[in-house]
């Protein structure tokens, strides 16, 4: 069972895109269907495969067959099961890291953008400096410091993306603050907390969704990169990047499936988010 069965979807997409006469819709629909099928896989993994992804057997390095559609790995584990359960690992890390980045980036971005002044200048400067630094390197160093676990991976990725959220939230806050209804609220003496929560926060939501979808594609690649280099979760937890890394050792001996399929999953999921991001990005481009 493969996610996003291509024939059907592409036909659907082309029909839809003709009707709506816009690539944006096509991107949105294909992106959403990829992401939703991955979420479905993550939830339904135990139903989709009879094998335990961490339990080995003596059937090592079997090529793809009816019994093991994607073959088995060097310890005799069913690769399809590992990949399906691996969806859980990466989605959990994505959710955790996003939650962390937002819970740090949102408040400081909001405060920075609303109050401005010296604090804003210092915060912006620090965030810009971190933003310019190669993200994977920073994540590696933090992951190394914390030791391998899904939560720690999420923390190190979150750290890298806080500046992105901060910059966007701050920028949006600035522009919302200058809008009439907020100025009116300030002039009428409404409490600052009420302004922040009632007037500004709801208007930040669309921005958050856009940044999330664009960041998610990046986060997937960063997580996969981290575990490819061996700094993410502890085996035998199924993890695409780690399986790709281990599979690479078997590539030249002809066991291509060990590295091909995990890598393909990374690319597909990242593509799903990138498509959504592209569709939303037409509305609003946070890179500028």
């Amino acid at each position: 069972m493969k996610p996003a069965s291509h024939g059907l979807f592409s036909r659907l997409i082309s029909r839809l895109s003709k009707r709506f006469a816009g690539w944006r819709t096509a991107f949105m629909i294909s992106g959403l269907s990829i992401v939703l099928s991955f979420i479905f896989i993550a939830i339904a993994a135990p139903i989709l495969t009879p094998y335990d992804p961490t339990k080995g057997s003596y059937n090592v390095l079997l090529p793809p067959s009816a019994e093991h559609p994607l073959g088995t790995d060097s310890l005799g584990r069913d690769l399809l099961s590992r990949i399906l359960y691996g969806t859980r690992t990466i989605l959990i890390i994505l959710a955790l890291s996003t939650a962390l980045s937002i819970s740090i980036g949102l408040p400081i971005g909001l405060i920075s953008g609303f109050y401005k002044g010296a604090l804003d200048r210092v915060l912006s400067f620090v965030m810009d400096s971190i933003y310019a630094f190669p993200s994977l390197l920073l994540a590696i160093v933090i992951a190394l410091m914390l030791g391998p676990s899904p939560l720690n991976t999420a923390i190190s990725i979150a750290f890298v993306y806080v500046p992105t959220y901060f910059r966007m939230i701050r920028g949006q806050t600035l522009s919302i603050k200058s809008q009439l209804f907020v100025e009116a609220a300030i002039a009428s003496g409404t409490r600052t907390r009420t302004i922040l929560i009632k007037h500004i926060m709801p208007n930040l939501l669309p921005t958050l969704v856009v940044i999330f979808s664009i960041n998610a594609a990046d986060t997937i690649l960063t997580e996969a990169g981290l575990s490819f280099l061996g700094y993410s979760v502890v085996p035998p937890t199924p993890d695409w990047g780690y399986d790709l890394y281990m599979g690479r050792y078997y590539l030249l001996s002809g066991y291509w499936w060990l590295s091909f399929f995990p890598g393909l999953m990374v690319v597909l999921l990242s593509l799903g988010f990138a498509l959504i991001g592209e569709a939303l990005g037409d509305i609003y481009n946070p890179r500028k």
Partner: protein, 525 residues
């Protein structure tokens, strides 16, 4: 920007595209085969690194191999064996109950640049290594045993030892005892010095982490190497090493290919796989004071549940051998004491666990530690297979934990790890180096096993002072039996050296000293 500039940019872009396309086409059509370029040059690929080309600080196997090819000592191992033979020395005698060794040098010895080599060069080199006292260095191989070294005349080297050392000749075969060229800085580590000593080869070029070029030393005491030019190519990982072997870029893939590549290349008609036992061993350490593994029954049960054949096949693709003692197979006094527990003997394991009070409802909860990169890419798999094997008793639940090498070492010394995976490379080929560092309570603090058995301590001390090999053998066998009863360590596997050579390469000899001798290798015509 005006029109001229923009037209200029376009022109440049077009030119770049044309040039790139032309070069690509040229490369594809006119591909020079790598074999043609290296006709009479032997190219050896490795993933190891050279640390320092200095006997005073180098202390790792691969660098020692290179030093053995560009330098020589008084004695050396006969290729392919653990027997010592004379090298730069022509004879020796032992006096004063084994505390004085007197060596006479061969005639007309020369360094590889043609300078004469005398007994004073030995004294200078050895004293230099001691004086420099490099961090992480091998000078203890001298200072722990040698009181002083002198040269009464140009052809005589005399060692005075603190006390008799049964394995002193083996120590003399290690690089800290090699004479080095006077070009080495006298008072400091000279990492990049390429002057070498009096070995079969001399260095013509060295680019760190990329390439080491060697040519035959015309002054070598032991004839002419079969191949006059040797290149060592350094690769950053085993997959790249294998790819280079298959593309013909290298003739020999040496330390260290992936296990799966070695077993896979065995069936490839273009290559020969040569294997020999190595002196490297892998084992588990228990913290014998930490509950629940402070119970000897638990440790014995875990020993019984381990299936070494399964580990050898699934983790190492058959490239290592099962090991049933801390002393490696092939070394005198070796006794497979752990065979009494069987291999994957689940019935026995379950029986022992029940005696210790565990059952399928009241499971034994243990932590197994490993370090992900220090022992190669197979380490995580090794930990996972052990977990599987123990859990297949149905009475054990294993949590895998990992730490980077430095943290790992610290945790071992502090005794904070319940069960941990370690490996051991010997410093000298003697049963003492496989027993004392583990079982002697005064030497095993680094393991964190807290193992302290008075009888064992005494036996080991006694063996060190004896010179009679039969007496020593019976003591080490006794020690091994106690080890198998107390189970503070479980031996798992013994490494195997594997070297893959292209068809037509001859003279690859591997021995227990694990060093490849480049000068014996040649091309069959």
């Amino acid at each position: 920007m005006n029109k001229a500039i923009s037209r200029g940019i376009l022109a440049v872009v077009v030119v770049i595209i044309i040039v790139v396309a032309a070069v690509a086409a040229y490369l594809i059509l006119n591909q020079p085969s790598p074999q043609q370029q290296v006709q009479k040059t032997l190219v050896i690929g490795v993933t190891d690194k050279i640390s320092d080309l200095d006997t005073a600080s180098a202390y790792d196997f691969f660098t020692w191999e290179v030093l053995n090819n560009i330098m020589a000592g008084l004695v050396t191992y006969k290729p392919g064996t653990a027997d010592l033979e004379l090298a730069l020395a022509s004879s020796y005698e032992i006096k004063d109950n084994g505390t004085t060794y007197i060596f006479t040098l061969k005639d007309n010895l020369k360094f590889s640049d043609g300078r004469p080599l005398t007994a004073q060069d030995f004294v200078r080199s050895i004293n230099r290594a001691v004086a420099i006292n490099a961090p992480e260095g091998p000078e203890w191989l001298i200072t722990s045993f040698v009181k002083n070294v002198t040269a009464p005349d140009n052809k005589t080297v005399v060692f005075h030892l603190f006390q008799p050392v049964s394995y002193f000749l083996a120590l003399l075969a290690t690089p800290p005892y090699f004479p080095i060229n006077p070009a080495y800085k006298p008072n400091a580590v000279d990492s990049d010095q390429t002057a070498g000593g009096a070995g079969a080869y001399r260095i013509t070029k060295w680019v760190r982490d990329q390439e080491l070029d060697l040519e035959a030393n015309p002054y070598f005491y032991n004839g002419t190497p079969k191949v006059s030019k040797v290149i060592i190519k350094f690769y950053s990982d085993a997959t790249a090493l294998r790819a280079a072997l298959q593309s013909g870029e290298i003739n020999i893939a040496w330390r260290t290919l992936n296990p799966v590549d070695i077993s896979n290349l065995k069936s490839n008609p273009n290559f020969n796989v040569i294997q020999a036992p190595s002196a490297f061993i892998r084992y588990l350490i228990f913290n014998t004071e930490m509950s629940p593994v402070n119970n000897v029954k638990v440790r014995q049960a875990l020993a019984a549940a381990i299936n070494r054949t399964d580990i050898v096949n699934r983790v190492f693709s058959g490239t290592v051998v099962p090991l049933y003692s801390l002393i490696p197979i092939g070394m005198w006094s070796y006794s497979p004491v752990f065979k009494k527990y069987g291999d994957g003997n689940l019935t026995y394991a379950e029986q022992l666990l029940q005696q210790a009070g565990y059952s399928s409802s009241n499971k034994l909860q243990i932590d197994l530690w490993y370090t992900p990169s220090h022992y190669g890419s197979t380490e995580a798999n090794l930990a996972q297979v052990l977990k599987e094997q123990w859990e297949s008793t149905g009475m054990v639940s294993v949590t895998l934990r990992s730490a980077e090498w430095s943290t790992y070492l610290k945790q071992a010394a502090n005794g904070t790890m319940m069960i941990s995976l370690f490996g051991w490379y010997p410093d000298y080929l003697d049963p003492d180096d496989y027993t004392s560092p583990f079982l002697d309570a005064s030497a095993n603090t680094w393991t964190g096993s807290h193992y302290n058995n008075t009888q064992v301590n005494q036996l080991l001390f006694q063996a060190r002072g004896l010179t009679d090999i039969n007496q020593r053998t019976s003591i080490y066998q006794n020690v091994q039996n106690i080890l198998a009863n107390d189970v503070p360590f479980i031996p798992l596997i013994q490494g195997q050296l594997s070297i893959v050579v292209a068809k037509g390469i001859t003279g690859v000899v591997l021995g227990p000293d694990m060093l490849l001798r480049y000068w014996l290798i040649g091309f069959s015509s």
